[in-house]
Symmetry: C2
Subunit: 228 residues, 2 copies
């Protein structure tokens, strides 16, 4: 289960781009020369595109892994949602994702791609969590203490998820919501971003507006923000 | 043919992200509610990921279009390199790319995806060039006078391409190369980025180092930077 309060790490675009360039440099410095990059959808798309730029690789494709159950819980399972559309036979392949969490995604992806007869499959991520049961071949940062990482390409959807979590039966002002996001998750979001998240929560029927205050409206839906 | 001298437009990460968020807002404001986003590889990957974030869409996949011949020439042809891996039947689909150039890519992609029986296919790009023979349903900026747009996710490969172009038989210093990039293409790149491009040109055998100067080494290879 996801605990009530935990630290989020907001990654800026600048930092995410630097991490992606650094991942490419790590791969190159290790002497690996992939001929194709496979992004794990959706989190690996931006890092993979940047890695291809740094390594001058034209061949980029993606696969999508679907998760069942709640992220960061042990009972989670994964399966291939969008299969491989490229021929990897006899190629050196690099699979790229943003982060290892349980490690389930990369483990499944690597085994799946191996089945298509590439010469070699290696894996790379920007950030590797100590909680992961799978060790990627390449990573830029190691995260010892578990935290939720908010990448800039998932900023809005994660903020919708977390804003939904801090809403209660008792209506809160924008300032109170902002304070709660900071206190419970160490999320420093600006008011405009929180307003955009609240607008979507209203549209989704997960929040109710009362004057300039917002309160939770219970639904049975899952938090889409935890399904990367 | 690509002319000897023309203007390049370097798009920063900030601007590219703003354009991508604006594309999502344009789609939403038009009342279109896509259920799946298909990125055109490789240029559409980053915009598509951001559009999915803004519109809270989980279903993102990509197809890759291959180009034959030289970009910006009329004789260019295109074909599907990596096919569609997702089921789009009866879905409202949004195809996302960075830019329309000849329009060939989006025209091919839209027709191709239509063949899989979606409910509707619409197309969106960050920047739409007046040279395009295909009009996307949504775009954020219209480019009247043709120019080469360098997106931040293709910065290195484009710089490799353009640095290769300004090298001549007579060796040039880094400062001279930088001046030429600015004069011929209006590219304001910093020395570190040009050095990284030169390092790759040396590795690729397309440049020769003479002291602290660099000269062209003729090859018969195409410029990979013009194959997005």
């Amino acid at each position: 289960m996801i605990p009530e309060t935990f630290t989020c790490d907001l990654v800026s675009w600048d930092r995410a781009v630097r991490l992606s360039r650094a991942l490419a440099a790590t791969v190159r410095d290790a002497g690996y020369r992939p001929e194709m990059v496979i992004a794990i959808g959706r989190g690996g798309y931006v890092p993979a595109r940047i890695v291809c730029d740094s390594l001058l690789l034209n061949d980029l494709t993606g696969i999508k892994i679907e998760h069942w159950g709640i992220a960061a819980s042990k009972g989670k399972e994964a399966s291939i949602r969008y299969p491989l559309a490229a021929n990897v036979r006899d190629l050196d392949v690099l699979i790229v994702d943003d982060v290892t969490d349980t490690g389930l995604t990369l483990r499944l992806a690597a085994g799946y791609v191996e089945g298509f007869g590439p010469r070699e499959v290696r894996t790379g991520v920007l950030q590797h969590k100590g909680t992961s049961s799978f060790s990627p071949d390449y990573y830029v940062e190691y995260i010892t203490d578990w935290r939720w990482v908010i990448y800039p390409w998932a900023m809005h959807e994660d903020l919708v998820g977390f804003t939904g979590k801090v809403l209660t039966e008792q209506a809160k002002s924008l300032a109170e919501i902002r304070t709660e996001l900071s206190r419970r998750y160490a999320i420093a979001a600006d008011e405009e971003e929180i307003m955009a998240a609240l607008a979507d929560l209203l549209t989704l029927g997960r929040a109710v507006e009362e004057g300039s205050h917002y309160r939770r409206r219970e639904t049975t839906e899952n938090q889409s923000s935890f399904h990367r």
